[in-house]
């Protein structure tokens, strides 16, 4: 199925969760925050929150800034 991650379409397997997506992207959960359809997903829920077709996922982190 397709979801949108940071504005880009991406195929994920059925049954994918926020946690599995982060693993696939090699992103450490400790350094990011995740929104699913504009709702923040708490870190404790990464394993439990499944992805649905068309979900819009935002994964953010910290970059240099003033």
């Amino acid at each position: 199925m397709e979801v949108v991650v940071n504005g880009h379409s991406r195929a994920v397997t059925k049954g994918a969760t926020v946690a599995s997506l982060l693993r696939e992207l090699s992103l450490p959960a400790s350094r990011v925050a995740v929104e699913r359809n504009r709702e923040i997903v708490r870190k404790a829920e990464y394993e439990a929150v499944g992805l649905s077709p068309g979900d819009r996922i935002e994964i953010v982190t910290f970059v240099g800034g003033g």
Binding site: L25, A33, E58, G65
Partner: protein, 259 residues
């Protein structure tokens, strides 16, 4: 007051350095790391952005140790209250403490703040338990409103962000200092070490800068200069300067002259 005991308190946390620095626009990470060290800053600002899904790029957090520095997420680039609040909530979820540099930009060309939206966002974030440090203009009335809204400091600009124009309205900063009780941190517009010293001499509690250091020909040396300037400016303020007079007063005795 002993200078050794002179500290800056923000949201119940105490800091020895009154220089806050940004982490943007450095030529490379090693230069940034050395500049941060040279600045003596304990608080460094960071922006919140989409992760780069291309894993070939390094992460800021590989270079800035959150154990050593207090990372202060900003809401740079936010033009609405909604975006600013959303950014702060994401920053907190990403693992930061609850202190944020709140900015809501009102104009692309000047990057001046949209103060009604800023105030509204500040109120919401204070309710959410954030320690809010708002980037605002040099308006004493707005500074008071932000203090009344529960902000832990006010951060008036010296001049437009990244402009390096220095302190354009020291008189407003003085009025702000007499108007609010929370710390006043000059944020944005500082260009050189003397600008930073002036801010502290006026009685401001700190200075936040990014471009003045990162954009200097030698960022590490400029970071050191800023550290010294902030320290010197603060000491000069605490020491109490002499009154300005129009005419001279001799420094050497008039008695005992033999000519």
């Amino acid at each position: 007051m002993s200078f050794l005991a002179d500290t800056l308190t923000l949201g119940g946390r105490t800091f020895r350095s009154r220089l806050l620095v940004g982490t943007g626009k450095y030529p490379d990470y090693p230069t940034m790391v050395r500049a941060l060290e040279a600045s003596g800053a304990e608080i460094v600002t960071v922006a919140v952005r989409r992760v780069n899904l291309d894993r070939t790029q390094e992460s800021l957090l590989d270079h800035v140790d959150p154990e050593r520095y207090t990372l202060l997420p900003n809401t740079a680039g936010c033009y609405t209250e909604e975006d600013a609040v959303r950014t702060c909530l994401l920053a907190r979820e990403a693992g930061m403490a609850n202190m944020v540099k709140l900015e809501v930009i009102g104009d692309e060309k000047t990057l001046f703040p949209d103060t009604p939206a800023l105030l509204s966002a500040a109120k919401r974030l204070v309710k959410e338990g954030f320690v809010v440090l708002p980037y605002t203009n040099d308006d004493p009335v707005m500074a008071k409103r932000l203090e009344d809204a529960g902000c832990a400091a006010v951060m008036p600009l010296a001049a437009p962000i990244g402009s390096g124009l220095g302190i354009r309205n020291p008189y407003n900063l003085k009025i702000i200092l007499q108007t609010v009780k929370v710390p006043v941190i000059v944020d944005a517009g500082v260009g050189s070490a003397s600008d930073a010293a002036v801010a502290l001499e006026l009685g401001c509690d700190g200075v936040l800068m990014n471009t003045a250091i990162a954009g200097a020909k030698n960022p590490v040396l400029m970071a050191e200069a800023m550290r010294d300037a902030v320290s010197a400016g603060r000491k000069s303020f605490l020491a109490g300067r002499i009154q300005k007079k129009l005419y001279a007063t001799a420094s050497s005795p008039l008695d005992g002259t033999f000519f």
